[in-house]
């Protein structure tokens, strides 16, 4: 694991197993298995594979993350990014082409929440049926 300036880097030819915590910026270019906790931004590069639960202020995904993602600020899921797991964040930007399979909760309150709540039924007393469709012939 290298440190360039304020950035902690897991190199492209590295396979890291364990728990990583960082203060400012961490960049995963290789493979990572375990848990990531940080106060700054995590960047997952295009060819990186990250099997980890992530807890950080910001996360930028260009590669693969398998695990739950919890961000106090923004999650950026770019076009080549793949997330298989739940995302909880205060803000989220998702680009067309990104892949995401999991539970999503985004909003100022969601960033503070530790886990996602179960789905609630639609408000307004539930469905009444039939509206919005053409009449039956």
């Amino acid at each position: 694991m290298a440190e360039s300036g304020d950035t902690t880097v897991v190199g492209a030819d590295s396979h890291f197993k364990g728990e990583l915590s960082f203060e400012r910026v961490a960049k995963i270019n290789g493979k990572f298995d375990g848990k990531i906790t940080g106060k700054g931004e995590l960047q997952v590069s295009q060819n990186a594979q990250c099997k980890a639960d992530v807890d950080a202020t910001g996360v930028q995904v260009d590669g693969l993350i398998e695990g739950n993602l919890n961000a106090k600020d923004t999650v950026k899921l770019n076009g080549s990014g793949v997330v298989r797991g739940d995302i909880t964040a205060a803000k989220m930007v998702m680009t067309e082409g990104a892949s995401f399979h999991g539970m999503c909760a985004v909003g100022p309150d969601s960033g503070r929440a530790s886990s996602s709540a179960p789905s609630q039924p639609a408000p307004g007393g539930g469905p009444t049926g039939g509206q919005g469709q053409p009449p039956k012939k």
């Binding site: 989220m92 995401f100 999991g102 909003g107 789905s119 009444t128 509206q131 469709q133 053409p134």
Partner: protein, 145 residues
Amino acid sequence: MARHLGPRLVQCYHCRHRFEVSSRAQSTSCPGCNKALMVGDEHITKLRGPLKELRTCGRITVSKRGRLIAETIEAHGGIDCQGIIDAKKVLSGTTVTLGPKCDYHGDLTAPAVEMQKGAKVKPSMFAVPSDPLGLTELPEAGESG
């Protein structure tokens, strides 16, 4: 502005039968199952619902002041939400856009999602990309011969 008036290919949301309709058509009946079908675009500019379902072969646009409440939403032409969508299940044939002021809730199945910064999402299951309708195989209007 010139309007493209050629036929367009749609897929019935009841039986998945594919056929052509005029680009101006708002509704029709499916030649495969004879059921009524919405093929036009839906523009939601105020409260619409609660509905059991809102299904169309066209596009659903929810404007800034629009609010759509439905149990099931299906739009083969895609969804553009700048307002509020509250649903249990949402299916889209093309890209779903969630604008910066959007408030979204509903289990989403779509080939692609574009979420802009500021969008709020209540806990919902996302399956992206996925194509349960097989709509990505549909050629663009005018290419069908």
